[in-house]
Amino acid sequence: MTASLRLRAAVVSIVLVAVFLGAWHIATRSTGAAANMSPEYAKLMGMTATQGKSAMPGPLDVGAKLWEHLRRPFYDNGPNDKGLGIQLAFSLGRVMLGYLIAVAVAIPLGFLIGMSPLMSKALDPFIQILKPISPLAWMPLALYTIKDSSLSAIFVIFICSVWPMLINTAFGVASVRKEWINVARTLEVGNFRRAFTVILPAAAPTILTGMRISIGIAWLVIVAAEMLVGGTGIGYFVWNEWNNLSITNVIIAILLIGLVGMVLDQILARVSRLVTFPE
């Protein structure tokens, strides 16, 4: 039964993709030669002007270009032209660095807030104000004070991924069942041991949920941050191709950003399944 459901779902998915690609192809077909131009003039003009080709590339253009990129993902033609593999590696490197710093800050701080009602009340206004700030709003300030564009991008990743983790950790820690803590107290377990053997395992699923939200945000933000500072990364690639008005490459980048984001999310989903326990 499940097998047949899965099969049927796959068929529906494939049909949907086919319909989408077909519609896309038809919508972006060229309409044939446009107004009559002298051949000399036509030579100086692009396909859009001469062939009536749509400004939006069709699925075949995107496919051909994608194949070209996939065949040589790691080429390096100088500082401003690198393969998609290298660009993605740069972005992932930045995301990982900023994210790990955020983990290192958010989880201990979240523990503190979750375990101490005083700190929770005292830090709450700061978190509430800082949390809703759009990560990119930090960018000019970061560029101006940190004085290094690549550190600024990492800082922006850090600042945007720290809040969901912090709040989830604090919430997870604060809502550990009172009975468990009381049992630990009865057994005269020390503070540290209590934190690591009772609270951490109990709060782990919530903490990981926070981490999963954060990685999604971090990956969302890196593209915008790199578009702003330029240099390297998938965001820079999008900006560079936008500058060239190459919508084909922009679509390819969008596709890849989506795929990488999904992979990152799935990795954390796996980990979170590992620490979940039945109650």
Partner: protein
Amino acid sequence: MSIFDDPFDADSRVNAGCICGQHRSPAEHEHAALALRCEPVADSTEKRYENVVASAVLRAVFPQAATRRAFLKSVGAATALAAVSQFFPLKTATEAFAEAGAPEKKDLKVGFIPITCATPIIMAAPLGFYAKAGLNVEVVKTAGWAVIRDKTINKEYDASHMLAPMPIAISLGLGAQPIPFTVPAIENINGQGITLAMKHKDKRNPKDWKGMKLAIPFDYSMHNYLLRYYLAEHGIDPDTDVQLRSVPPPEMVANLRADNIDGFLAPDNICQRAIFDGVGFLHILSKEIWDGHPCCSFAASREFITTAPNSFAALTRAIVDATAYASKAENRKQIAEAIAPANYINAPVTVMEQVLTGTYADGLGSVKTDPKRVDFDPFPWQSFAVWMLTQMKRWGQIKGDVDYKAVAEQIYLATDTRKVMTDMGLTPPKDSYKSFSVMGKPFDPTKPDDYVASFKIKKAS
């Protein structure tokens, strides 16, 4: 006086002899007007350096110009050169001279924005002008003018491509705290245009443009000042009658296609790109507003000059050299191919060629030719800076009194550039100020306040 002058020319006169003052004779002026601005006399750098050293020696032997000329006339330049090299080791001296001071810092980073204005900065990398100056320069594409400003201020870049008025704005502290910046060379002259959406192809009179939405790339740009000037000359107040928007160049084409703006005054390859894609047509070239106007500049902080003077001089040499090379029509095709790849401007080669060679489609069905559509002449005329200051004042970007001359002389390094150019065997202009006219209205750099006061449309301040 041509930038490239021969010290062994017995016929050279101390005072220039043509109407523009840049050539030795009216005939040469005609020739230069027909051909191109920078006409090299020596065919290679080595030859030029040799000439510099030889002429220095000759001048030392015959300090009197009249005697020197008489001597050259009687024996001929070749004999004179042979005679000089008899008692002075010219070859060794030339080699020693060419090395100049060793650069303090060889690995440099220079930022640029991917538009044809950055041509000399970019082409100097693939065509080896930086290497020739003994530098290892990485040219880094940058996402926007504000970012290039911040990265240069932060010293991530040692020097960078900026809009000509930007170093003035940064030095004066417009928009941020003041940091002294300098312009050792103008990147390009001309090279912009007003492009309008296809639907306005019958509205060629700017008087009909009331209510239009027009885009410019940056507030402190020649684009902004030239567009405002052009509109105001046609009786349109740029602050009230139209909407001027600061839009990054690639978004201009997209917005034009989306019918979100009616036109723009943009740097080139963007204008041509809009035509190439069939989105707009070229209304006029910025050259038709002011022929020979500066567009972008090569800028460095004063701190860089003081901490690494030799690197700075070498960098200026490379840029001046590249600019001279770019000024020649026969090199333009090669340059277009060198800078079109993704690593540099990232644009179709046909678009780059149309801009650089000046044979282009105008978007309305005809092919036009103007070899000076974009041109290259590195000398940082201080009168350019004075003009920009008058426009900053006119449109309320700077308030109160301005010491035009002092600001221009601190930022536009005509004297230093003149020295570098003389050292390279080029002949820079003797003056740092020249007058010119914008849309037929003459500008006298000695009377900037009168100039500002003479405009009917301006922002009162």
